[in-house]
Symmetry: none
């Protein structure tokens, strides 16, 4: 019996996968998570064999979850699911320990095949994803590694602050929401201005949206 945990913020999608898997006698869905933050606590209570993990999750994104999970619970096999065949997503989550990557437009048969393949300790990718990985490898050989990173890495906390800035909150409001001092938020703001090379809040918001830094 393969124990599976599903993590996706789209309820209807989670219900859908569950309905598909329910008909399989050797698969047991032991739980659902609708955001990134609840996954680790769930696994601390009950360990699944496979985690079906959406790459774009609210709270804490799939890549971060995968990283943490791979360190703490390496026996849990992560099968990443995503709407997008995005090179950056694929590469990053695979680098963080995911055993497979399938797209949301793959069918029932392929989903079951992916689950069984991953359960046997092998890796599984959708056909389209395989192509993407190939392209990625070729590019990285051409320019010798990382081609992205136009921006210095933004930390977890900075990203939280940035999100609230974009949502029109003032520094004081952000401090209250995050239970930290006004001065700390000002620190993060100033790091963000410097890292993103912005002159003011307007620039912060523009650069964030134009480069989809919060997705």
């Amino acid at each position: 019996m393969i124990k599976i945990l599903i993590a996706d913020d789209h309820t209807m999608f989670v219900d859908g996968i569950e309905s598909i898997l329910k008909t399989e006698s050797d698969i047991n869905v032991i739980g659902q998570c609708y955001d990134g933050l609840s996954i680790i606590p769930f696994i601390e209570k009950e360990t699944p064999d496979i985690l079906l993990l959406d790459v774009n999750l609210p709270g804490k994104n799939g890549i971060e979850v995968c990283k943490e999970l791979h360190a703490k619970y390496p026996m849990v096999k992560v099968l990443a699911i995503s709407m997008f065949n995005e090179e950056s997503y694929v590469t990053e989550i695979l680098n963080n320990g995911a055993k497979g990557y399938i797209l949301k437009n793959t069918g029932r048969e392929e989903l079951l095949l992916a689950i069984h393949t991953v359960q046997e300790g092998k890796t599984f990718f959708s056909k389209e994803v395989t192509n993407t990985i190939m392209k990625g490898l070729m590019n990285s050989r051409k320019n010798g590694g990382k081609k992205t990173a136009f921006f210095p890495k933004i930390s977890r906390r900075e990203k939280e602050v940035l999100k609230l800035i974009v949502e029109e909150h003032t520094t004081q409001e952000i401090a209250d929401k995050l239970f930290i001092s006004l001065k700390t938020v000002e620190s993060h703001r100033s790091s963000l201005l410097s890292k993103l090379n912005a002159r003011n809040t307007a620039g912060l918001v523009r650069i964030t949206l134009e480069n989809k830094l919060l997705d």
Copy 2:
């Protein structure tokens, strides 16, 4: 027996909905379409009671399909499904004859409720969508019901100021560039804040970019 046609390009999602609906004795899924172009031909052969229609479809998008369908086959009730609670999507597809709009993060129970409600000839919206519609209505009443602008009209000068704000210029710099007084620019800023219903510069920039107000 309610006959349903599902149209969504994400196979896994289609399978999911189908699995959910299969357990209902009064619902019969008569077909699946994975792109916009195949929907009308299908309906010409076999007419469903309800079309579960994804707003973002390859080939021909959901809004166009809905429009054509509403003209040719008004008896088919369209229940729009989308990943996004986007005001423009919601308003447009409802203006083109859709009977309901639900998000992909609504659960199994709500999906069934939506189907039964629409089948009775009533309309159904997710809670979040209702709020979006309300906002849209308020805006469209303000500017006399024009469908293009969900925001009050922004004047030529205001647009110039807005552009410079997004480009990270301060009020003083904008005044110098446009050869007008600081106070005048402040006037325009404050009109913009009020018209776009923003709290601060961050909101101004976010709303501008999200709604492509400068294109």
